[in-house]
C-alpha cells in the first residue's frame, strides 16, 4: 500500500495492519525517517518537502512492485509526507511483512534505499542562513546501487 499525505501517521497501527488477519506473517520489518535538527553543522528550524504528485505515486508503486517481485512478501507499505515539517516529525514509513525474517528485512531496506533515489521528493531546509535545498547524497546512489548489483540480471 502507498500513501502520500501531509498528515502524520500512526506507526503502531500501520505496522499492525501489515500482519492483521494474516497468520502466515512471521516478521514485520520497518523504517521510520524523521526530521533532524541539524544538517552538517547547521541548525534546521524546519523543512518543506516538495514533490511531483502525478509521478510520486507511479514511482512508489514501481518500487513496491519491484519489492513484491523480488521477495516472498505478505504485504508492503510506503507512507511519505509532504509539506512543512519540524525536527522530530516523521517523514516516511516503509515496511514489509513476510513469513520469513530475511525477506521482510531485506525488502524494507530495499524500499527505503530505492525510494531515496527514485521517488520525486525534494527538501528545502530552513537554516539561519535562509532556505537551502538539500543536495542528493552520493551515499544514497551507492546504497540504491547495491540492490542492482545483487541481482545483475535485472539492471535498472
Amino acid at each position: 500500500m502507498i500513501r502520500v499525505q501531509a498528515e502524520d501517521f500512526d506507526v503502531g497501527r500501520e505496522l499492525e495492519n501489515l500482519s492483521k488477519g494474516n497468520l502466515s506473517v512471521g516478521g514485520v520489518s520497518s523504517f521510520v525517517g524523521l526530521v533532524r535538527d541539524m544538517a552538517g553543522d547547521q541548525t534546521i528550524k524546519a523543512m518543506t518537502l516538495e514533490h511531483y504528485p502525478e509521478m510520486t505515486k507511479k514511482a512508489l508503486a514501481k518500487i513496491e512492485a519491484e519489492a513484491l517481485n523480488r521477495w516472498p512478501l505478505e504485504a508492503t507499505l510506503i507512507i511519505h509526507r509532504y509539506g512543512r515539517l519540524e525536527p522530530g516529525d516523521r517523514i516516511v514509513l516503509v515496511a514489509a511483512s513476510s513469513a520469513h525474517r530475511e525477506a521482510a528485512i531485506e525488502a524494507c531496506h530495499f524500499l527505503i534505499d530505492w525510494l531515496k533515489t527514485q521517488a520525486p521528493f525534494w527538501k528545502l531546509e530552513e537554516t539561519p542562513d535562509g532556505g537551502q535545498w538539500v543536495d542528493a547524497r552520493n551515499a544514497d546512489d551507492k546504497a540504491a546501487g547495491r540492490w542492482v548489483n545483487k541481482d545483475p540480471g535485472r539492471a535498472e
Binding site: G33, L49, E50, H51, Y52, E54, M55, K58, A59, H80, I91, V92, I112, L115, K116, T117, Q118, A119, P120, F121, W122, K123, L124, W133, V134, D135, A136, R137
Partner: protein, 83 residues
C-alpha cells in the same frame, strides 16, 4: 507540451508549470533543454549545468536522448532527496 519544474529548477526558471509548443527540430530532451536555455533569463540559469538536471517524461525517469512530442508531460528537477 506541458513542462513542469521542481525545487531549485522551479525557483531559477521562475515558473512551476507552462505549456509550450517547441519547433519540430526539438525531438529529444536534450534538444528541449537547449531550446529552453536560449529563452534566456531564468531558463539559462536553471539549465546552466545539465549534469545536475534530472528529467521525467510522462512521470518516468528518462535520459537526455529520450524522444519527446507535443503530447508529453516533461518535468525537470534536481536529484531527488526524499525519504
Amino acid at each position: 507540451m506541458r513542462i513542469l519544474y521542481f525545487a531549485w529548477l522551479r525557483e531559477k526558471a521562475g515558473v512551476s508549470e507552462e505549456t509550450i509548443t517547441p519547433p519540430d527540430t526539438v525531438a529529444t530532451v536534450a534538444d528541449l533543454i537547449e531550446w529552453q536555455r536560449q529563452r534566456g533569463d531564468g531558463y539559462g540559469e536553471a539549465f546552466a549545468d545539465t549534469a545536475v538536471v534530472k528529467v521525467a517524461v510522462n512521470q518516468e525517469h528518462v535520459g537526455l536522448d529520450h524522444p519527446i512530442s507535443n503530447a508529453d508531460e516533461v518535468a525537470f528537477f534536481p536529484p531527488v532527496t526524499g525519504g
